[in-house]
Structure formats: C-alpha cells, structure tokens
Symmetry: C7
Subunit: 95 residues, 7 copies
Amino acid sequence: MTIKPLEDRIVVKPSEPVEAKKGGIIIPDSAKERPDEGKVISVGKGKTLDNGQLKTLTVKKGDKVLFAKYSGNEILIDGEKHLIMREEDVLAVVE
Amino acid sequence: MTIKPLEDRIVVKPSEPVEAKKGGIIIPDSAKERPDEGKVISVGKGKTLDNGQLKTLTVKKGDKVLFAKYSGNEILIDGEKHLIMREEDVLAVVE
Amino acid sequence: MTIKPLEDRIVVKPSEPVEAKKGGIIIPDSAKERPDEGKVISVGKGKTLDNGQLKTLTVKKGDKVLFAKYSGNEILIDGEKHLIMREEDVLAVVE
Amino acid sequence: MTIKPLEDRIVVKPSEPVEAKKGGIIIPDSAKERPDEGKVISVGKGKTLDNGQLKTLTVKKGDKVLFAKYSGNEILIDGEKHLIMREEDVLAVVE
Amino acid sequence: MTIKPLEDRIVVKPSEPVEAKKGGIIIPDSAKERPDEGKVISVGKGKTLDNGQLKTLTVKKGDKVLFAKYSGNEILIDGEKHLIMREEDVLAVVE
Amino acid sequence: MTIKPLEDRIVVKPSEPVEAKKGGIIIPDSAKERPDEGKVISVGKGKTLDNGQLKTLTVKKGDKVLFAKYSGNEILIDGEKHLIMREEDVLAVVE
Amino acid sequence: MTIKPLEDRIVVKPSEPVEAKKGGIIIPDSAKERPDEGKVISVGKGKTLDNGQLKTLTVKKGDKVLFAKYSGNEILIDGEKHLIMREEDVLAVVE
C-alpha cells in the first residue's frame, strides 16, 4: 500500500527531535519557531504552471528536508505519523 | 440518474472511519486534523488554464483518495452521503 | 421579456425542496450546508480569459444543476423567484 | 455637458422602483438583496487585458440592465441621481 | 517647479464645491458618497503591463474629471491643495 | 561603503521638513496624510516582470521625490537616517 | 553537512548588533523597525516564473545583506543561529 501525493505535494516522515547534537542542526522541542526536519518518502508529479507546463519537483525520495513547523496534513502510515505538504513548505535540503 | 461535476470537481464517497487497522492508514474519528479517505465516483472534464488550455484531472473514477477534512459540499445520492470537491482538495491517491 | 445574463452568468429557477425522495438526490430544508438544485433558464455568452479568448459556458438552457446554497442574486420573473449566478457557483449537472 | 466614463465603467440611470407589476420583474423596495434596474446612459471604451488587448463593453447606451444593489458611485446629472459602475456589476440585460 | 507623477498617477486640482448649480453636476458637501470633481494638472507616462507593454493614460492635462472621494494623497503646490492619485481612481471625464 | 538596493528598491535621504516655504511644496509636520520629500541616493537594477523581462527604474540617483508617509524601512548611513523603499512607493519626481 | 535552500531562499548568518559604529551602518538593538544585517551563507537555485523560466538569485554567497527584521525562519547550524529567508526579504547588499 503506497501513498501517491498529487501535484506538487510530498510525503515526509518527521525525524525524532534530537535535543543537543553538537556540530549538527539542533531543533530543540521548545523552539516553536524553528523548522522541523524529516525524510521525503514520496513525491508528486509536479505543479502545472499557468502556461500549461509541468514543473517537476526539486526534492526527491530519500532527501532530508527542513520544513516550517505546522506544515502539511498529518496521516498515519502503518501506525506512524507522516505529513503531506506542498514542496513550497520545504525550506531546504540537508546534505 | 448521474451527477456530472463541473470543471475540476469530483464526486467522492467517503469511507467509513476504520478505527485501528494495523498496517494500513488509520484515521481515528478523534483526530480532527487528519485527512479523510474516500472513493472517487465521478470526475469533471478539467480546469481551463489562463491560456485557454484544458488541464484534465489526475484522479479517475474508482481511485481511493485522501482529502483534507471539511473539503467540499455534501450531497445525498440514493440516500447516501457524498462530497463534491475540487481536485486540489485531494492530497494523495492510495494504491 | 427576457433576461440575458452577462459574461459567465446564468439564470436558474430553483426547484421546490423535495423532502425525502428515495433513490434520488434529497436536499432536506434543514441541511443548510447541502447544495440547492435548479433548472437553467438562460446562459451568458461566456467569460473572457486573460489572453482575450472567450470561454463559453458548459451548462446550457434546460440543464438541471446543483449549486452551493446562497449562490447568486435573487430576482423575480413573472412573480417567481429566480437566481442569477456565475457558472463557477454550479457544482454539477444532474442527468 | 456629458459624462464620459473611463475604461469599463458605465453611467446608469436607476429606474423608479415599481411595486407589484404583474408579469414583469418586480423589485420591491423592501427586498434588500434583490438587484436594481436601470437604463444605460453612456459607456466607457473598455478594459485593457493583461496582454494589452482592449476588451470593449457588452452593454450599450439605451440597454435596460439589472445590477447588484449598492453598486457604483452616485452622481447628480441635471439634478437627477445616476450611478457610475463597472460593467462587471451588471448582472443581466433585460429585453 | 513641476511635479511629474510616476507611472499611471496624475496630479489633480480639486474644484471648489458648488452647492446647487442647476443643469450641471452638483456635488453637495454633505453627500459623502458622491465623487469629487477636479482638473488634471499633469499625468504620468503610463503603467507597465505584465507583458512589458506600456499602457499610456487616457486622461490628459486640462481634463475635468470625477474621482471617488478620499482618492489619492494630498500635496500642496504654491500653497494650494492638490491630489496625486492613480488613473484607476478616476471615474469619468466631464465634457 | 555603499548600499546597493535589490530589485526595484531605492535608497532615499528624506528632506528636513520645511514649514512654510512660499511658492514651493510645503509639507507641514502636522499634516500626517501628506507625502514626504527626499533625494534618491541609489537605485536597484529593476523588477523582473512575469514574462522574465527586466523593467528598469524610472527614478534615478539625485532625483527629488515625493513618497507616501511611512514608506520603506529606516536605515542609518554614517549616522544619518535614510529609507529603503520600492519605487512604487514614489508618487512623483519634483523638478 | 550543508544546508541547500530551495528555490529563491537563502541562508543568512546574522551579524552581532554593533551599537554605535561611526561612519558605518548602525543598527541599535532598540530600533525595532530598522533592518538587520547578515552574511549570505548559501543560496537556492532561483525562482520559477509563471512562464516556466528560472530567475536565478542576485545575492551570492559571501554578500553582506540588509533584511527586514523578523524575516525568515531560524535554524541552528553547529549551534549557531542562522536564518532561512526568501531573497525578496533582502533589502540591499552592503559593499
């Protein structure tokens, strides 16, 4: 059973909050304004521009992404929390 | 008697809420923010873009879809509750 | 005396609410969120798109349509209540 | 002395409210939501679309029109109340 | 010293309110919703459309115009009150 | 050290308010609704239109401009107050 | 580990507020409306315009920029506060 997001939407599995990893990106649970991190599980086919052209997505399956808090809709896949959001909610890819 | 939705609208028959199906997508009745699931009954011809081009729909009759809660307008067909919504309210197709 | 709606507007004669027709579309008077039903009396010539192209209407005279409650402006023709609305207020054609 | 409305604006002389004309369009003074009726006195040259093309008006001098209540700006010509409104405020032409 | 309005802006010198001129346009000081009248002093070069095309103005220096009350920004030229507004605030030219 | 404004932004040095200069533009400190005056210090390269075309600015370094009160963001250059604003906040050039 | 901002976003490391540097740009901590200063750490590939064309960014890695207060989302890289913002939040480049 797979979830195929429509248009420019992606499915993201949010990471567990890591409290104080030195030398990495730390997103303390208390910092409400800081973005969340997650892994891209699946991506849509892209967004249709006003001129009818399809703009495919930049992020791809497996990417580690930062996204603004409270982005997207929450769904459960095999009992685990995932998020469906638009690619524009993704701030950056972490490499 | 059939309902032919206009433009980029679709008719969806919402699924019965399944409380705790292991290994599947669970949408508990209490989780207000989680999307609903349903089956596509009929689809419109598509949306006319600004350049006059017709963009046909991605979802098709029979698709199982996830859509944001409170999407669309409720209608009764043969006494059963259905929803008419725009395709952009559909988050993903479940396969 | 005829009413010629402008642009993408249509004139609709709303149906009498039918309380519990089995096997059909039932729109109880108490269900405020459910769409209304009506018959198209006349249609405009269409909407001019941003590129100057005319997009004619999909619905036509005689069509039975569903439209969101509180759509359009009420007028009286020969003493009977009619509605003038834009075609985008029409959710579906009933056949 | 003439008033030449700019762009897609028109000058309309509102009709006297007719209280209960049988077989015609009745717009009782008490029905706040019903549109008003009037006669087109003069029309602008049209609206420039995003592509630079001029879209001339559909209504013309002498047309009897229905327009949403509270449309336009009120002016006095020779002591009589007139309205300047955009053509999109006109719902229909009455013939 | 001259004021050259930018883009689709114009400089207008508002007329003195004339209280009851018979056979003309009367704009009593008490009628808040009625448009004001004025004379165009200078005009901008025009508005750049989305396609890069320049749309020059319709009104010209010397035109007597009607504009919605409270349009534009007030400036003083040689001690006299003038208004800078966009051409879309002009309802009509009076001839 | 120079400030290079981005896109269609400009840097303006606001003039000292002149209280009652006869024969000029007077902007009393008490008239909150009147525009402010200033001198253009530097300008951006222009705004990219929807069609990808660059629209360069109309105002240029050295121009004396009128702009709506409270336009732009305040910065200090060499201890003196300047404003960064978009060109659309400029109402007119004074010559 | 690097952060690759998407589209027209950039990563900025905000400068320490300098309280009264003579001959430079002073941004006192108390002046809430004044923009902040920072250094560009990385930039996205650009923004896709409506016509499908990619508009690359103007600012580049290493640029010293002014941006409106409260722009962007805060993230921590190696324990230090950074901001992810869109290029349109950048007011000017300081040279």
